[in-house]
């Protein structure tokens, strides 16, 4: 047995939920049946008022906290373990936390790598493009299934934050608090450009086979690796990279540490940042489906909650009834503080209650996943009020 920290949710087990009711997508296409892979932490209270939904970002999944294997000492916990657990901001002593793998994903929910019942083969490129709105519609059905009429809070960072905004717009009476972290009202041309490089990397891999690589028993791993490498750069900040790859004082603070202590005068991997990116890209490509990566970058590109509201975000929020907490990080250049301030401005214009924090952090976009002290304190304070509202668990410490 490995030692599991006392403030961990411990060993967890995902559950598969099957849905038979067809889901009409924004594109007009219909998914007849689908599965959602879900994890929950904590206990739903008697009046189902203490449920919070955690929405994952581009490469996330349902495994947000805890561990699977009690024996494996090397296993890393879920992707938001710093926030979910007893005594943590999303305190499982008080909240029932729900996390799911979104439709189109590759971690157990129905997606491009799932079997298409019509053909007996994986969907591949035939899987429809799903939008944030479609995801939120599927999440609402999951809430129905779990007996949750209204979330105490819906929470997410990056693409997760976009789902939170969509909840506040599409289901105004089904959440009391919206926590929108490191997000943007919609992608800019620069954001879309990075996604396009990622897609071209995957689609130009000779093993891609127009997305039908499953049928050829191949996998466009090189393409996914390149896609992830370019994505990964946008998640970090210049300052963080200088720090991370600049341990050698002789190289100054430029992060130019060498791998072998000298230049190769060839096209080998000279600098540590090169091998780091290659390693990150390579290990990601082994665990993520290429078609899902393509799909989710499109989901990001298409996100625009203002389409039905004359391009005005404040009009989109007009019917929202929840309170908002918007958080950005100083060194995030993928979705910079400026983008979060646009969300805040729209909420102010719509006369909605909103709090906004700009957290000083060097970790870039990835900071939203990390236990930055001020960020954790703020989430703690805010969620503690939310816990008070739903009636704290009297038996909890």
């Amino acid at each position: 047995m490995k030692a599991i920290p006392a403030n961990s949710v411990g060993i967890v087990k995902p559950q598969l939920f099957h849905f038979d009711e067809p889901l009409t997508l924004r594109s007009g296409r219909v998914i007849e049946k689908y599965d959602l892979m879900v994890e929950t932490y904590g206990t739903l209270n008697a009046d189902a008022s203490n449920a919070i939904l955690v929405c994952h970002a581009l490469s996330g999944d349902h495994h947000a906290a805890g561990y699977y294997d009690p024996e494996n000492p090397k296993e890393k916990p879920g992707w938001w373990d710093c926030c979910i657990g007893p005594g943590k901001p999303f305190d499982t002593n008080h909240f029932f936390v729900v996390s799911l793998n979104n439709l189109g994903g590759c971690a157990g929910s129905t997606g491009p790598s799932s079997m298409n019942p019509d053909t007996g083969k994986p969907f591949g490129p035939d899987f429809p493009i799903v939008t944030v709105r479609d995801w939120v519609n599927s999440q609402a059905r999951l809430a129905d299934r779990l007996g949750i009429q209204q979330w105490a809070a819906v929470i997410g960072g990056s693409l997760g934050g976009m789902q939170v905004m969509r909840w506040a717009i599409s289901y105004p009476d089904r959440l009391r608090h919206a926590l929108v972290i490191a997000a943007a009202p919609k992608l800019s041309a620069q954001n879309i450009a990075f996604n396009e490089v990622a897609r071209q990397s995957i689609m130009s891999d000779p093993d891609f086979h127009e997305g039908r690589y499953y049928d050829f028993n191949t996998y466009p791993g090189k393409g996914v690796m390149l896609a992830r490498m370019v994505g990964h750069i946008t998640y970090l900040s210049d300052a963080l990279m200088r720090d991370k790859f600049g341990k050698d004082a002789r190289a100054g603070n430029f992060g130019r540490d060498l791998r072998a202590g000298k230049l190769s005068f060839g096209f080998d991997t000279d600098f540590q940042v090169q091998s780091y990116l290659q390693y990150k890209g390579e290990s990601f490509s082994r665990n993520f489906d290429a078609n899902t990566y393509l799909l989710v970058t499109k989901t990001l590109d298409y996100f625009d909650p203002t389409v039905d509201y004359d391009g005005e975000l404040s009009k989109a929020f007009a019917n929202s009834q929840c309170k908002f907490l918007v958080i950005s990080f100083s060194s995030d250049w993928r979705f910079s503080p400026e983008r979060s301030r646009e969300i805040v401005e729209a909420l102010l214009k719509a006369e909605k209650p909103v709090s906004y924090l700009e957290i000083e952090a060097d970790e870039g976009h990835d900071a939203f996943l990390l236990p930055v002290p001020r960020y954790m304190q703020a989430l703690n304070a805010y969620m503690s009020r939310v816990a008070d509202e739903c009636g704290r668990n009297p038996n909890a410490g």
Binding site: L348, V354, R385
Partner: protein, 196 residues
Amino acid sequence: MRADLKIIESWIEPGSRVLDLGCGDGLLLAHLKETLHIRECGLEIDQEHIQQCLEKGVSVIEQDMDKGLPNFQDNSFDTVVLAQTLQALHRPDLIVDEMLRVGKRCILTFPNFAYWRHRFYLMTGGRMPKSPHIPYEWYDTPNLHHCTIADFDELCRQKNITVLDRTVVDDARRTSMLMNLNPNFFGVNAIYHISR
């Protein structure tokens, strides 16, 4: 409850929308939420104060008002409050303009530099006045633009600002007959209720 907050409270309509610039730990807004069920919004740059607002459940936005309020709509608040901060801003006149643009009515409080003790301090000692509510040295004070009640009255005249009400209070935030007789001489703190 502080007497100056009581005066501010008496000028605010129940259920109205209130913006507090430099809201500190959220004390005023939390109180007004409880008593008058206002819809609150605080502006603050101090991290500790922002944390205290979150703990109180007061909506707070991290923003530097010295850069203006461009993200706030005209007439979007019933009342905009600026308490004990006017003198610490880079351009107090511009923030007054912004307050009157965003709010239908505004409430301002500031220490009156022409209070007789300050005058006495400067006249006899020949040094910049210090007192319990202006405890700083001239070189480390956050107060960039001290003004007097007469100065602020003049600003209101120049900008055609309507003074709906004005009260002066002492350090204990009480008012007295003497202060009302000659506010600019006996008043320690001024509280203005203004509109365009």
